[in-house]
Symmetry: D2
Subunit: 205 residues, 4 copies
């Protein structure tokens, strides 16, 4: 139906950590009543780099059927949730490259007035869990986006501990997201979906 | 009426530059149909420092009847617009001190789910116009706030040029905000008020 | 002697967590051969607020003999290490107020060409450990400072996990800094002191 | 000679604006006595996108003889100066992709203890001139870098106005860097080169 909130979960993942978080976001958004698209961004690394890392290669095969993100996924959505492992306190180049192709949509105003949020995973505990999300949100301000983060709006956030979004310490991909990280991702996604639905209702009348 | 959106404009100003921007925000929010409170934060500087600067002293007298902000102004509002001159790329200590007294409200969740935005003035053209606003918004994420900035949602933003909020280069308080800066402040405030009203309607029903 | 590197450790602490980190910084800088000043910034909270919190009151008494920071401590130093608990992802107003009084030094260039770094403590694990330090460093750029952080220059940083400086999760002041946090603070201070000494030697000839 | 400071200027430029700034950085670093490498990062955009933009195509031809950056250029250098147009308040994906290939150098500590700084160009006056540089510097903290910005260490900075580095408003590539922007780039580069030389001397003895 027309009033249903549309959520795009757009992510980059090398060895699958961020992908697991993305799936948690998808489930939570669907439970919140949203129509959800899960999309990976295009890989930039050469095949030989991927093949030299068994985890990377395995994950590529595991997600070969996940559709690649297109700019249209952004214009379609009411709510956009982006996820990326950190690369030195900033999103990975793969996600940035997708973002950098949105110029025409931005110029048309097609990215404005949507709800945006994010999630990330890092190698060490304070090696970008905050910085990656905060610098990602700077992008959304350029788009005229409405940024919604979990804050401490749920008691679980005092355990998960990141008011800027969901995050996980993977120890370089060796530690899968635990229930705390997955629940924080679900909370972030659910909150964004509900806020996006409320904003959509409110703007309509 | 109950459904009217409530906007709190909370600012610090030494010599009056930021105050002029605050007044522009108030007018724009009222024109957008909001019930508006204008509040200054408490001064921290000693009397002798203020008296030694004629502009500072004059502005204090000019605004002696503006009420001082109380934490209740935040819980009352649906939309909070904060303004401060930059002090080295960050809001002035006076505004930070007000913010730091909100712990009880934060712990109660009384700051969440509101729309937040900001404006600033700086001495030089790139001496904090972006950094002051972006670091201010980090605070709002802690509160569970919904951050709404102007982006490039209006053609005037390609002239004003700051997608993160309204800003002005004062050359150390010597240059009053021109029509570009005041219009950008009005746009920022109007957009926040309208988004706050939409979110309020949407969350109600 | 003239060539000895001078380090100022300037901090704000309410209940003593950040003070313990400051002491660790002092010890490490002294071990690295520096002449060190430990300075607290002036309290802004009213007496009644402090008295209503037993930990805050006790810490005030504990450190009544620590000298208050003056702007001259900054011009004296070759290396400045600042510490503050986070307040919503930003330094406390008390430290900001001290910083905001440095205008005359800044205008004279007396804050430039020094090494700067920082440490922080937060209530939850990702509630400002990165953002507080990164926004603090923005201030130092205004001063013409040279910012030196620990990065991952020591294996212990893969455990402590914050490349931007030293940090600790205090659970609202209930958990004292453990050896990991204190060692990270020491590493941060030692590295800043050594870099400051090298820069001083190098600039001298 | 062995003691000569080595400077790598690494940039991305689409239509040539950032390239002009890079050349200004090169000249200033050479005048400061440095051995300088100018390197462009690899293009990620498809040929058809480049060919559809006459300025982009012309610039590609103009700089076809500029060598592409390799990770070794970073380990070789004492001072690294990076430049990129903003893409939504963050460096372009092309530069990020180069940065993301430095994992092995980072893991070896080969990126630490160098001086880093940056420059950028933006479409509108406050559309990333600060945010692009500040988020770039977050990367350098991960590397154990020493970040040196111009601050207001030269009177010209009160005109150029960006204490975080050099920047230029290009109006989407239509306005070439003027003498203010080029002089600010030169100042930024010269200061980094001199600081890098001093640090190198100081660390050696």
């Amino acid at each position: 139906m027309d009033g249903q909130v549309k959520v795009a979960v757009i992510y980059y993942s090398a060895t699958g950590i961020t992908y697991q978080m993305a799936r948690s976001a998808v489930e939570a958004a669907e439970e919140a009543g949203a129509d959800v698209r899960l999309r990976k961004v295009r890989e930039l690394a050469p095949d030989e780099a991927i093949r030299s890392n068994s985890g990377w290669q395995a994950h590529r095969l595991e997600t070969q059927d996940v559709m690649e993100a297109e700019p249209d996924d952004l214009s379609w959505a009411d709510v956009v949730i982006m996820g990326s492992p950190t690369r030195y306190g900033m999103i990975a180049a793969q996600l940035k490259q997708f973002i950098d192709t949105t110029g025409p949509l931005w110029a048309n105003g097609a990215l404005a007035d949507k709800v945006y949020t994010g999630f990330t995973s890092t190698a060490t505990s304070h090696g970008g869990q905050e910085a990656t999300l905060l610098s990602l949100y700077t992008i959304f301000y350029h788009w005229g986006g409405v940024v919604v983060t979990p804050g401490y709006t749920d008691p679980s956030q005092f355990v998960a501990g990141n008011p800027y979004g969901a995050s996980h310490t993977s120890n370089n991909g060796e530690v899968a997201p635990d229930h705390v990280a997955l629940a924080a991702t679900a909370l972030t996604a659910k909150r964004a979906a509900l806020m996006g639905a409320a904003l959509k209702r409110g703007m309509a009348g």
